[in-house]
């Protein structure tokens, strides 16, 4: 991927994410992680190479919650369904379900302004879930949250992953988050981004929060960190 201004963002990257797989990409800032995601979503066209994604039911979660401030939680969650032309009854039902899944029941008629950062992100997740995505793209969604909230949302995201069985592609800066969530962690080098390590994480699902304190977990984090050290040089 080369941008019009000559920035060489991603180079020679090749991988597949199957259904029931959760692949996380970690790497230094500006290494083209987000570009990768934008190409996968179809928001940006690649300048060379090939990208095949089933975009019929695509979920996309942005870095920020990107809610419409003039809509209530419920109406925000309905947005994707509404834009896709689902009828009112259908989208009400799906929204109710999605709101329940992310644990926002009882907050349906609140406005984004009244929500905490974590709740906004839940709302954003619910909005994507409404379409029951088969492919789910995450662009550092929990980067702005505090550690505790982030871990809690990680737990819940895994629950959703087990429940929905989508193919997940997740971008993050956090090594622990990457190891905890994924079936595979891809480490990228600095720009132009290449994949320099592909580390399988073999813990079975569902994963318990306590997994984070097991020695094997620490070991894997160490391997990812080791691989990334190269990237930062």
């Amino acid at each position: 991927m080369v941008f019009p201004d000559g920035t060489h963002a991603v180079d020679d990257v090749s991988f597949t994410v199957g259904r029931g797989e959760f692949v996380t990409v970690v790497g230094p800032s500006g290494c083209g992680k987000s570009t990768l995601l934008r190409i996968a979503s179809g928001l940006t066209d690649q300048t060379s190479g090939d990208c095949r994604v089933d975009r019929k039911q695509l979920g996309y979660v942005f870095q920020d919650a990107t809610l419409l401030p003039w809509r209530t939680v419920r109406r925000n969650v309905e947005l994707n369904a509404e834009l896709q032309g689902l009828d009112k009854v259908e989208r009400r039902g799906r929204a109710t379900e999605a709101i329940e899944l992310v644990g926002l029941s009882g907050h349906e008629s609140k406005y984004p302004k009244q929500l905490s950062g974590g709740m906004k992100m839940r709302c954003s997740l619910a909005r994507a879930l409404v379409l029951s995505p088969s492919v789910f793209l995450f662009d550092e969604p929990f980067g702005a949250l505090d550690e505790i909230t982030r871990e809690r949302l990680n737990d819940e995201l895994l629950r959703l992953f087990v429940h929905e069985g989508f193919a997940g592609l997740f971008i993050t800066h956090s090594i622990a988050e990457a190891v905890f969530l994924s079936t595979r962690v891809l480490c990228m080098s600095a720009r132009p981004g290449r994949i320099i390590a592909d580390i399988p994480i073999e813990f079975p699902y569902p994963r318990q929060p306590e997994l984070r304190y097991e020695p094997r977990f620490g070991e894997l984090c160490g391997r990812v960190a080791e691989a990334l050290k190269e990237a930062y040089q």
Binding site: L43, F62, Q63, D64, L68, P69, L83, K113, Q114
Partner: protein, 268 residues
């Protein structure tokens, strides 16, 4: 306290009332103490103004009619300017070519001294209502247009991407994203524009001395005839007109935006 109780009202309205009282006091002071006997008439005291301008039937009806005429011109101008600005801003927000083509002229409209054009309007349109409305529109158009355009163009990138991901069409994007997102800027533009329309209408009154008698022309006449009590009354009415429109639009704005925009964050 939820900000609506009796106590907080006192806290809120007392300071401005004090300033108002101080202002009236100063007014009397200027009349009675600072000016000498011979010049006292150029600042008639408040009660005299009220007596001669508002409690005398003749003067009152003359002033109110003038106010009505000016307000009508200002409102018609305001509505027309708003419609033109909205259409223009939407076109420019969605088409970069249109923006490149039109925006320089919108800027030019702002930089040419519109008052210099007013005599031309009287040549083209005669001293008619049309000429007054055109003056109003030209004075108010640019600030409204720029606010609208700014609002429409500063929609969050991610939100735009979200709509693109859902393959939302132009109309959906306009009505479900751009316009609501631009509302705060739109109301800012409307507030500025409303004030300018009142100015435009008054200025037009000064220039077009035939047809309906507007407030501006009355002010001119009173000044020439040294009827300073009525002149002050006219100034007060003109100010009230501007303030009323400003407050009215502000009120609509905060009712519309109270749920979500930071500038209205004190509610709920």
């Amino acid at each position: 306290m939820n900000g609506r109780g009796f106590g907080s009202r006192i806290v809120r309205y007392t300071p401005p009332l004090f300033v108002f009282g101080g202002f009236i006091g100063l007014w009397y002071l200027v009349h009675h103490v600072i000016l000498d006997d011979r010049r006292r008439f150029i600042v008639p005291p408040p009660h005299q103004v009220i007596q001669d301008a508002f409690l005398t039937a003749n003067a009152r009806s003359e002033l109110l009619e003038g106010l009505g005429n000016t307000a009508r011109i200002a409102l018609i101008g305001f509505v027309i300017a708003t419609v033109i600005a909205l259409v223009g801003a939407v076109v420019m927000a969605f088409s970069r070519v249109a923006e490149r083509a039109l925006f320089p002229y919108a800027v030019a409209l702002q930089t040419i001294p519109i008052l210099a054009l007013v005599p031309l309007f009287s040549v083209w349109f005669g001293p008619t209502r049309t000429a007054r409305v055109v003056t109003c529109v030209l004075v108010a158009l640019f600030p409204i247009l720029t606010s609208f355009l700014f609002g429409l163009k500063s929609v969050d990138r991610d939100l735009q991407d979200l709509f693109r991901l859902n393959r939302a069409g132009l109309r959906t994007r306009l009505f479900k994203l751009q316009l609501p997102a631009a509302l705060p800027s739109i109301f800012t533009g409307l507030r500025i524009g409303a004030g300018l329309c009142v100015i435009g209408a008054l200025v037009a009154d000064f220039f077009f001395t035939r047809g309906d008698m507007g407030l501006g022309r009355l002010l001119n006449n009173y000044a020439k005839r040294l009827e300073y009590e009525k002149l002050f009354g006219g100034v007060i009415l003109a100010s009230l007109l501007g303030v009323t429109i400003y407050i009215f639009i502000g009120w609509i704005g905060s009712r519309t935006l109270r749920h979500w925009h930071e500038s209205e964050a004190q509610s709920s």
